[in-house]
């Protein structure tokens, strides 16, 4: 196995996907959506979207987080919060409002527009296998929301999985036609209760030092596999003192699952029993390389 240092992007790269031409499309926190070509050129694709009716100009993409590419080459990416920077995720969690949005970048005309708003920390994005809809993980709401992008339901928004036991992060396809979602942390009754009490949280952030704020449990997470009907099929667990705490993303490749966490300094590998050893994410999206 060989690893090679690639081009410096200048920001903090998060979700990424290999495009049909072999270039890498990557979300960079604090910057936007960028393309890294095979010649190692860095091209900005989308750094702002259409402004909403808000008094404050919210057109700038603050925190591009995760993305996926539809078969028509449109790129859907999430901006978890239009009020805070990446380092202020805890403030957004305690605010618990729909500050997130899903943005669609159309390479045909280079335009970007917001296609879904009011998302509670829009995080992982995945175009479903049938390319009829996009899944978006709403982290602090512990749910996954679906937006139909084609077919008779085009434009319709619905809750796909509600009431997850943890906070969903990145979503990716699995080789057996299902999906993997990383739960970055597990819910606790105390924080759940506080999220239904905005006055309590307001008093807390005003009167208590940030070190003592109620914090989401972000030390134990898991990987959950679900199918196209939103049914949970399997779960892989971790522990706070394990080799891979706080898993935020998982990607399957040739019968193995590569796992990583935003604060981890390592990549892990899990052998998946019964998974197709020839399956590659690239070919699942774009077919055989020519």
């Amino acid at each position: 196995m060989c690893f090679r240092r690639s081009s410096p992007l200048g920001g903090r790269p998060l979700g990424l996907q290999v495009d049909k031409d072999g270039s890498i499309v990557v979300c960079v926190a604090g910057m936007g959506l960028y393309r890294l070509t095979k010649a190692r050129e860095i091209l900005p694709l989308s750094v702002q979207t259409n402004r909403s009716f808000s008094i404050i100009d919210d057109s700038r993409v603050r925190y591009a987080d995760d993305m996926d590419i539809a078969p028509d080459q449109k790129i859907y990416y999430s901006d978890p919060t239009k009020r805070y920077e990446a380092s202020e995720w805890l403030t957004d969690a305690l605010e618990g409002r729909g500050n997130g949005r899903l943005i669609c970048y159309d390479p045909a005309d280079g335009s970007s527009r917001t296609v879904m708003t009011e998302l509670v920390f829009a995080n992982g994005v995945c175009v479903m296998w049938d390319a009829q809809s996009v899944l978006v993980a709403e982290t602090w709401a512990a749910r996954i929301t679906r937006l139909w992008i084609a077919g008779p339901n085009k434009g319709k928004r619905e809750t796909f999985i509600r009431d997850l036991p943890g906070y969903p992060d990145n979503i990716n396809r699995s080789s057996d036609g299902n999906y993997w979602v990383a739960l970055v942390g597990m819910r606790s009754p105390a924080l759940d209760l506080s999220l239904s009490m905005p006055d309590f949280r307001k008093r807390m952030v005003r009167r208590v030092a940030p070190d003592n704020w109620l914090l989401p449990n972000m030390f134990t997470g898991s990987l959950v596999k679900f199918n196209a009907d939103g049914k949970i099929l399997d779960t892989l667990w971790d522990a706070a003192d394990g080799a891979h705490p706080q898993i935020t993303s998982a990607r399957e490749h040739k019968g193995k699952l590569f796992i990583g966490g935003i604060h981890n300094d390592r990549i892990g590998l899990i052998d998946l029993e019964g998974a197709d050893p020839r399956w590659s994410d690239y070919e699942a999206y774009w077919g055989k390389k020519t």
Partner: protein
């Protein structure tokens, strides 16, 4: 209309979308050690990690 009424009812009763209950950890959620025992294939450089913007920000916040 029905959706709004359902939301109001759920908000009053704490049910449906407004429920605070964590789902039971049975069935597909049963515990295992798959991630704990996962192989480590690459490990980062701690000096590079600590120079990241977010960590620098946390250190600054802690100092303040």
């Amino acid at each position: 209309m029905i959706g709004s009424l359902r939301n109001l009812w759920d908000n009053f009763r704490g049910s449906g979308a407004m429920a605070l209950t964590v789902p039971p950890m049975d069935g597909a959620f049963r515990p295992n050690t798959a991630i704990e025992t996962a192989q480590v294939v690459t490990k980062g450089d701690h000096r590079t990690m600590s120079s990241s913007r977010e960590e620098a920000h946390s250190i600054r916040m802690a100092r303040e």
